[in-house]
Symmetry: C5
Subunit: 256 residues, 5 copies
């Protein structure tokens, strides 16, 4: 079955709003305003994001608001708290079937390559990818090199390894962290072949520096970003969203 990915793109570029930090990092990331999903859904709608990333609990309890917003829903199928240190493992807590039932346009899954539990996550992803693709649902792989085995490896190598892993295992979009320089990121994008690359917004930064980074991401050939804290922790989230979109969706002659 043909994978319906266009729903997540605007002229082959994209901007997702990521909001699964409640489980992945804990509420310490939030304030009285952004702790509330209604505000996040409102932001996604007003900012006309290409997708909003939630865990299944949210998707179920805020179904009405999400559907009304018409923003495509991406369900992250696995998850963990950040309390446990050591080699990370994140298992599936939502099935592809459940995601589709609450209206997901895509599913996501995180793989910590290099972790002692890497093989369990690669295996689980394999089954999810099969099931989602049979139903025409695109799969987004969050791929992060982690664990003691990646200590000291070059950022260039690790970024490209992450995107390439996404391609090899069948992800339609691979989401990575941008940690090197533009040249390294371009190589990572190239290594991803026909898998599209999206960059995680990461921890909150100085706005100017962040927008500089967005420009580099654009130049690298990545199709866009999945922003979270740099937007909803910003006192004026819609304003910064506009600035980001201006860069991401600018017409130019980048690799298509």
């Amino acid at each position: 079955m043909k994978v319906k990915i266009n729903k997540l793109l605007t002229k082959d570029k994209t901007l997702f709003l990521a909001y699964d930090q409640g489980l992945e990092h804990g509420p310490k990331e939030f304030n009285d305003n952004n702790v509330d999903h209604k505000n996040i859904i409102y932001l996604a709608k007003k900012g006309k994001f290409n997708g909003i990333v939630f865990k299944k609990g949210i998707a179920e309890k805020y179904q009405t608001e999400i559907k009304k917003s018409k923003i495509p829903l991406i369900i992250k199928l696995n998850g963990k708290t950040n309390l446990l240190k050591g080699e990370p493992i994140s298992r599936q807590i939502c099935s592809v079937e459940e995601a589709i039932e609450v209206g997901a346009s895509a599913v996501g899954y995180t793989i910590y390559i290099g972790s002692e539990h890497e093989s369990l996550m690669l295996e689980e992803f394999g089954k999810i990818e099969k099931e989602a693709h049979e139903k025409g649902i695109p799969v987004v792989a969050w791929i992060y090199p982690r664990g003691k085995s990646v200590k000291g490896k070059s950022k260039r190598e690790l970024m490209a390894y992450a995107t390439r892993t996404g391609l090899e295992i069948g992800a339609d979009i691979v989401k990575i962290k941008y940690e090197g320089n533009l040249k390294d990121l371009s190589w990572a994008v190239k290594s991803a072949g026909r898998t599209k690359v999206v960059i995680a917004g990461g921890t909150k930064q100085n706005e100017k520096e962040f927008l500089e980074e967005v420009k580099e991401i654009k130049e690298s050939g990545a199709i866009g970003l999945a922003v979270g804290r740099n937007v909803w922790q910003n006192p004026k989230p819609l304003k910064i969203t506009k600035k980001i979109k201006k860069i991401v969706f600018k017409n130019d002659s980048n690799k298509s």
Copy 2:
């Protein structure tokens, strides 16, 4: 399917009688009177609790008395003894199907976030939540931060992380321990979004102090408590129940 949660609430507030300590803590919690389920069921009935928490063995062997009492039954699906120290793991010992068969109005499951086995419990909860919701059965998540990884973390952070986890994974009600102050608990309730928060009664306390705590719980926006030892270890359990109910169900202008 719509989750039938109203059966467990009185005007959006609730008071559960918890009695799964026989497995979780062992009979050392009991005396000649409260060791007997018949007495507990009698207490639940006389005290008009909104729900009574049992393990499946009890629900099967005391089915007649439980049904006659008309108190909604909440089956805790997983369980463990407290003999084993170290990183806790509690696995499913009763299926959703079995719980429904013995007449459960809701199912419960404990997750020890921060434990080395967290991912196994999150995964198992995911499947239970799916099955229960398909049948319209509400799911109560007992979420307790545990294990060496949570040592030294702030109580505020841990309480809010527990309630938020409940929301993100799809619990209808999340039960936590109240360990910080009112402000911290209010934040935890806020972090839970549309997942309702219930507080564990915890170890037996001085009655006055306990009732003070109940007032704070009420103020925090939590919908109520799941009391156990503070009631059935009390020499006059019905009298203390009345006092708790007076606070929990008092009409006021709290967050609804």
Copy 3:
């Protein structure tokens, strides 16, 4: 479906002949006579036991003799050798379906509470209990506190924890070791609620002391014993059986 437990009882009391030591302890427990199942089945028949405990291999290979004896068959579904030291784990080696097929009137399963593998056994028991009860087959739980975590705990606490665990997880009969005093055992019987308590005969003792113990067991409210070595290692097994039965089945006004 109603659990058919009466087949295992005589006026609510019982005496089982346990003979799964071949796997659990090894043939060093046996001599030329009691190593042979035919002799054990003969003993069970002559002694009119309420049940005989075998592993599935025996039940299959001695099916004709067992059926002819008309003694109810209890199949122990899990098992392990005693070669491996450390935290015990015993997994299912016979299904409920197989047990029924060879004519079992009940199934048994051992759980080592306190062991690092406790949760695996509780989980497996949960599935067995479901399947057996759906078919009206009673479930006997052998519950033994074990592993380094139970070192130093009081015998009273451990005995009661074992019987209570049996009740909470849905066993119809819980078999424990008698290691404390009469008062402690009575408390354990009380903690078991509607789950019936049977005491393991244990290692071979002086006959007089053993019969003293049987009297205490009778007084405690336990429904009887599962004897093994104290009978079939006795030079006159039928004679000692009669003495035990006289105590166990004596009419009196004990708790019913």
Copy 4:
């Protein structure tokens, strides 16, 4: 269903040709001649063995020759290399269904009792025994005490424990190593009850000593041997086969 064991016996005695050493020990056991399955199948046919033991790969690739030989095929369902030291674990690599499809008259499975992984193998054997017996296929259990927990145990105890385990878990034939003396082996045979005992030929020995051992095996009541290296590593394998058969199948008044 009745288990069809007679196909593997000649007047209740048997001689198997074992040839699974390629996986279990590696090709270092072989020379240019015995490395080739065709030669082994030829030997089995000429020597009129009661059974030939292969892994599934061989059974598939040499199906034509095996069928033509008319020697009953025994498929060993699990296997491992001997590269890894430490507590042994051998998992199922061929299903009962596959074995039947390639024409197996029996299936085999190795259990290392005493190993830290004992419970996994006992559990897996349990399922295999069920499936095979439902289809009338006999099950041969290779049972070897192994791992650090068996260090220092008496050979008498271990041999008898191995055979008894075979009986308790439902094996039709149990294959053990002969490591003690005749008296010990006779006790092991007695401990096996109605499970037949077959002795592993073991490492290559001086021919005279080996034939002495065969006589003791005969006297012990074991039904025969599963020979491998002592035959196919022998420069004249058919000649030694004849000598072994003369002992094994000699008419006498041993236990039947």
Copy 5:
């Protein structure tokens, strides 16, 4: 069902193009040209390889090009990154069913014999082999001795153990590394019986030395090579391909 292996052979010899290094080694193996699958598919087509080895992600995203090339597709079903050190484990990430759906003519699977996780891979391979053979699909086993248990073992022993393992578990083709001398490799080929042996090209070498090695491989009786880096890292990949093919497909009187 008959296994369709001829599609992968030219007069019983073969040359595969291996390109799963993106996941197994990471993109550091690539340059701007060979990072791109289109170029690799072009090379496979122009070089008329007997098969091309991809992971499922590639097979899905470059399906059109692969089909057009008419080069038989071999899907490697399991995979891992090389970030994690220690005892290797590689789990299934693509099902046989998926491989067939994208047009695979064969499936591959890597087993690290000697690794602490050997038994998991042998077990998984067993299921894959069954499923593939039921559908007539040949199975290629990559078998590499690994982990601390193989330190210090002779290369001769390990090569032969690898090929023999392939035979015993049912592989149609076994792929190993050539690390000893011609005599050792010939022994390994002999140990493989009716399982065909293919040699991994390995790390990039001096061209002359590499072609010398190819000659030895030819002489050993192996049916060919699976080349990767020695071809696509070569500045003139088609030229070196021709040289290899000239050796591999030369008519001679080697073992058939």
